[in-house]
Subunit: 216 residues, 2 copies
């Protein structure tokens, strides 16, 4: 079983690493980080590079595809077409699961893979997702056929654990959860637009998703 | 403000990325990934490399140090001394916060920085931590003076958010939490040894922390 994690300039690191750490331990799985060209790929904040071991041309039939999200400025250049969408459409023909985290679902939508399906995305990108003929939902993890989409950034951990359980059984997924000690205790209850302070939600709804972080 | 994330061969990626995504947005902060030598550093599972932008020699006075953990096989070679512990001791002189995730606290302990202090680690490594004159605690995030230690792997997210709130205020940390949509909904309640199925906990207590994942 081959798991392909897609990298592209400006991706959000936790979007990729959450599913990687939870799906990577699947029995018999090998994971490959893949990009248009093999080599280091820089993230949204610009100070971290992950290495793509293979190019798109070298990874043609992955069983599971994971598409991390990124700020709009890094996602939008791909939405009109190009190597990334082409590769997604080709790879998707043979996948058992095609997955995304955060705005990664916009890539799947733009590739035409989610037409008529239910899917999710970062809470600030749900309207954009709808523009691809998708029924957007605010759920944290959404399954529709073989398409699994997760909400913003950190939700990829929940998506990965859920999918790991479906593929390899509850006990395997519980072992993964125990080993990564995923017993979340956030210091605030501000992780979704219906829980965060209303003025903060309004601020980002007006401003849109920042290009890197709230500090910039 | 400079944040240094320490990389070494065999580190666990989520240990580094959790605090990176939550502390990186601190106002005025620049983050640097640092290792004994600059260049790609491969993780515990061997199929992912993060790029260290700077060598230890180039990063001498970081304000915040983050030491990710790793399976014992990757941590133990450092515990007797060497460039990593030397750098930690030197850097620690000027830090405002010295932090770790998972077995990263064993590095801090071996460097002598936690003597007489309370700290935590991966649940399977708490006894080992005690051998460095530390009072181990099973809490998810432990503050003692400027030393902040987090439990296993995913707890670095909670640690990062908590510390971000202390440094830049609740509103900043809530904005970070909202933007990474950290509203955890794990599919199981198996993320700590007191919640996971008892036979699974016993299995790992007998076997010890696996070198990479439950599947190997």
């Amino acid at each position: 079983m081959q798991i392909a994690v897609v990298l592209y300039p400006g991706f959000t690191a936790l979007d990729a690493i959450g599913p990687y750490e939870t799906l990577g331990p699947l029995p018999g799985a090998e994971t490959v980080f893949v990009a248009e060209q093999a080599g280091p790929v820089r993230n949204d904040r610009g100070n971290l590079a992950l290495v793509a071991e293979k190019s798109f041309a070298e990874v043609t039939r992955p069983d599971i595809v994971i598409v991390p999200g990124a700020p709009p400025v890094a996602v939008e250049p791909h939405l009109g077409g190009g190597p990334l969408l082409d590769w997604l459409r080709t790879a998707d023909v043979a996948t058992t699961w095609t997955t995304s985290v955060c705005t990664g679902s916009l890539m799947l939508g733009a590739a035409g893979l989610l037409k008529g399906r239910r899917a999710t995305s970062h809470w600030l990108s749900l309207d954009h997702l709808a523009s691809f003929g998708v029924t957007p939902t605010g759920d944290r993890v959404v399954f529709d056929h073989k398409y699994v989409t997760a909400a913003g950034v950190s939700s990829g951990i929940d998506m990965g654990l859920t999918l790991a359980g479906m593929i390899a059984g509850d006990r395997h997924a519980q072992a993964v959860q125990l080993l990564i000690e995923y017993d979340p205790q956030p210091p605030y209850d501000a992780g979704s637009p219906d829980k965060a302070p209303a003025d903060l939600v309004e601020h980002f709804r007006t401003q849109g998703l920042p290009s890197s972080s709230p500090a910039r």
